[in-house]
Symmetry: C2
Subunit: 262 residues, 2 copies
């Protein structure tokens, strides 16, 4: 725990702001998030947050990396929660800067709830979610008339380590299916769609969307595992299943190939 | 069609940027969107866009309202597409400012495609989608461990005027279901969930989320129609079905009532 060193300073009202940092591109932060950062005394930030965003915080602000990536947990959620409270009580305004949107598999509500249990005022500032924006930046719309009237966002990595049962239902649906944190299980996930007979459904895999070093693989349920290997795609990446992926120019030769083969 | 009056001026390279303006709060615009607006020669904006955002555009920029709301079409999509092209060819950089995210039921891809058919360079800047942010700002997370491993976003108003078949599947699922543009059909939509025996599933209806005049109704599948009437909720509003809605403080008395009644 942090020692009560703030006694010498003016102790500020503790406050916590959960802020969505967006998918990676620092320009995809909101004005509201910037305003929160400018009044931060402490910024607790995750691995997928663009470090350029820390420059919006005042010079005096303490910056603490509490990064987690799938597989490597440097801080437990419990430890992050406690740090957040300690810093708020001792320093004032804590900005909890999280990749994407705080409520899309971000465990944001647990942090909000923890703050409430200490009666610390907490606010949420939504962020651009990669689930919509990363395909969007590639020109792939999650919805499009005649192709998709809905989209379904599912996690590929549940707390138990199993594939979510929701993904089995999603594979049966007509929705555009966006899988976050699923790239390590791509082969298993693709199998679920094969079992539904959707072998030719267009699929995109996008790594580091909106960032330099962005990588894209386009294929079908049958070919995407190889296509992702060819592009050496690794985490963090999102997977998009749906006819909307077929709108991408890279899908045109695939469509032509299937038509030729028939 | 606009006359070629730009001949006297220096004709700029035509360019179109589809920009997501977010759910309404002007501070929920991204830096990237502001940068695009600052170089706009023309801004074509929708009904649900906060007019304050137009102030980011240079003084010389032409501002054109091409608003549509469900039910009242002031411009057809076709007319908007053509205006966009005309302005780009005659004035240079057109920012097409759309509520929420351009690809979430925004018909953004049609505009992108139309620009491509004229070989006009086009870019997309994602926006904060109300589907995630509006519940989030009310402290309702679309996902939460133990309650929801996915969320499914469906339109309540399809091009044919019918309720999307996807909504019937969504009502069967474990996903948090977010319905956009469905408030006018609330009673019909609720019926679908009743038919799945989900009478006590928590439901939130939020009008003008993120804006002054925001309204919220919380209830269950059985009670939400009355709750929304009590709060005089009207379009634009989103509907959220799912156990995550039960995390909202306003749901606590409802839970207590059901427990008492048993």
């Amino acid at each position: 725990m942090i020692k009560q060193t703030a006694i010498l300073n003016q102790v500020k009202e503790p406050k916590i702001t959960l802020v969505g940092a967006g998918p990676g591109d620092a320009d995809l932060i909101t004005l509201k998030a910037i305003k929160a950062l400018k009044t931060a005394d402490v910024v607790l930030y995750d691995a997928l947050v663009n470090p350029e965003l820390l420059e919006f915080a005042p010079e005096h602000a303490t910056r603490v990396f509490v990064g987690k990536r799938s597989g490597e947990h440097s801080y437990s959620q419990d430890a992050v929660n406690k740090l957040m409270i300690d810093y708020a009580l001792n320093y004032g305004h804590v900005v909890r800067l999280k990749g994407g949107d705080p409520f899309v598999f971000g465990r944001g509500f647990e942090e909000l709830d923890f703050a409430a249990s200490y009666s610390i005022a907490a606010e949420v500032i939504p962020g651009i979610s990669s689930s919509i924006a990363v395909p969007g930046l590639q020109g792939i719309p999650v919805t499009h008339r005649g192709l998709s009237e809905s989209f379904w966002v599912v996690t590929g990595t549940t707390s138990s380590g199993k594939i979510s049962p929701d993904l089995f239902d999603a594979a049966k649906s007509r929705a555009t299916v966006v899988v976050l944190m699923g790239i390590k299980r791509l082969a298993d996930i693709v199998e679920i769609f094969k079992n539904e007979g959707k072998n030719r459904l267009p699929v995109a895999v996008i790594q580091s969307g909106s960032m330099k070093g962005e990588k894209l693989a386009i294929g079908t349920v049958d070919t995407i595992v190889d296509a992702a290997k060819d592009q050496q795609i690794d985490s963090p990446a999102i997977i998009v299943f749906g006819d909307v992926v077929g709108l991408h120019p890279l899908f045109q030769p695939i469509r032509a190939f299937y038509e030729y083969a028939e």
